[in-house]
Symmetry: C2
Amino acid sequence: MTTIHPVAGVRIGIASAGIKKVGRKDLVVFELAEGSATVGVFTRNAFCAAPVIVARENLAATQPKYLLVNTGNANAGTGASGIEAAQATLAALAQAAKCEPAQILPFSTGVIGEPLPVAKIEAAIPAALSDLQTNNWAQAAEGIMTTDTRPKVASRQVEFGGERFVITGVTKGAGMIRPNMATMLSYVATDLAIDEVLLQQALLRAVDQSYHRITVDGDTSTNDACTLSATGQSALPRVDSDNELYQVFCETLDDLLLELAQMMVRDGEGATKFFQIEVSGGKTEQECLDVAFTIAESPLVKTALFASDPNWGRLLAAIGRAGLHDLVIDDVTLHLNDVLIAEQGCRAASYTEEQGVAAMAPTDIVLRVGLNRGPAQTTVYTTDFSYDYVRINAEYRT
Amino acid sequence: MTTIHPVAGVRIGIASAGIKKVGRKDLVVFELAEGSATVGVFTRNAFCAAPVIVARENLAATQPKYLLVNTGNANAGTGASGIEAAQATLAALAQAAKCEPAQILPFSTGVIGEPLPVAKIEAAIPAALSDLQTNNWAQAAEGIMTTDTRPKVASRQVEFGGERFVITGVTKGAGMIRPNMATMLSYVATDLAIDEVLLQQALLRAVDQSYHRITVDGDTSTNDACTLSATGQSALPRVDSDNELYQVFCETLDDLLLELAQMMVRDGEGATKFFQIEVSGGKTEQECLDVAFTIAESPLVKTALFASDPNWGRLLAAIGRAGLHDLVIDDVTLHLNDVLIAEQGCRAASYTEEQGVAAMAPTDIVLRVGLNRGPAQTTVYTTDFSYDYVRINAEYRT
């Protein structure tokens, strides 16, 4: 069991609004202490949900005092009335919490295309506010779940210069993993005081190496959002330059988001494997990413992975169609874990089918692709395509 | 039953070499009469098979007299020895047929990474040559099959200026459909006499509107090849300019290749649906293609299609992530057959779930996407992701 460190300046309240199921914890309120700075990253999908539009606007206008999250309904594909519904829930929380509606960011996850049940959310807000406490991170991780099979929370406490700071975060597995649930949502907070521009840089960098490095099926959701809040209640000095403390913070944040991202892959729909794809020797990081994602999203690779089949032909075929200019396939090397399986455009001379079968047997498998044409590298995480993936996504609406 | 018109100047011989299964017709020889012109289109995959490398070279050097096709073994992922094996089969046919090896194009389809059984092919060449006749197109369509469930042949006879010309072709369903079988192979011939440059233009145009408009899983094969031969034995005058006869030829070829391409989609792995995606109102054809292929290759769309689920949220989400600059999702309209299902970023007011269910019930479904921002349009054909797709691709090697 991981230790969850509360973040001074963040209180969390959970309630049951009965949005989709009666009695389910489906409403989470994060309260951020006066003086907190919050930054966010949102879906790049042009078809973005009403709460994403409102949250972006409010975040640009002022510093949020509250984050309001509901599950059971994504408020996506709801047009102009979806915006009004999101605003109505903010008005209700603002009145109860005595702040401005613009000081709240809304987040929704769940079914697309159904009207948000505003009255149910309004009715549950008092219960969420009376539940506010600093020790509720584990409950928040449960409260934002939809089809996740387990809550996802990660936490770090770091010693620096005789003092300590904390970073704690929760996520739910959606995003590129469960886009049908229309959301990856992630809330992370630290008690450090950090300049907002530096905070935004840290979040972008960490997301780029974690949430942007995972895929289950290549689909991107309409509601994806990740926020990072800094409450400034640690005894450590305010971070307003790229100093040593900032570096330590960034590294800790990178590590924490990667842990949360990997939890999402492991909990991916129908997942039976955790597939780590390391591509090295590219001319640029982008071409390493192109190769890694072409492999990660190839249905032929993913079905072979489900079958624990060391199918190096499909791997080379995926690399060959990744669009790299002047790629010489004979220069490419493939390792499964430590086993060299292919080189010079064909099966490695030293390779035996027994080695391949042994390498594919565990749940966790590392594929190492050597492009041997440059210094760049990257790592991407994905999972397999199983019968359950088809079942879950074919049956979801029924 | 379609009428198959033989092409004067093309004789075809089929034999059983026992490459993978004893007794199976697995070797096909096309003989092209003296004076024939042949052009080809090959896979763009950087990991291309030995026969593709050899065929490209030979086609650039001289006009082919023979096409030599084997199934059961793709001769892909076989490195330098694969090239030698392909050359050895050409040498054997050249000796028996009294031509130069460079006047033959080799084609292989089947398992990747296994050595081509050259001796078996050499032994069967005399039988294939003694079988040569003009009426063997249906047999050729069967002889090039691998996991195809049915042969694919199409034929046209066209009246022009009191004379006639013929175009006949065969294909096997691979390519972007069955890349694990490592091949879409297609052989088309006409008895017209056509300038080689014009012939190449006609093929590129027709392939672009047919084989390049179909996808099952987005994977591209290592062996894809399509050739077009013109024997010049029709009584019609030689086509050496972009005249009316050339236009008629091109239109007929477009139509024929589209028929063959659609046959491949319908015979796609595990396919239960035929999904035609028409995207109109784009600024450019490329952005229409980006939208159409993002929809066609979305696992979430494909599993919903398998479930006959009119899931417009997944469709809008796929359109939203297709990468179109400044796309306004509220301008997009979605029709299933003639039913308006979504507009203004949400479910159409007139839409009922009953209409959607009725539209999704047949095997053949047309999705019409209106981008409403320009004059361009395109059409793409695909199929669904079923349990059988996973089964076929997870079990293929075992």
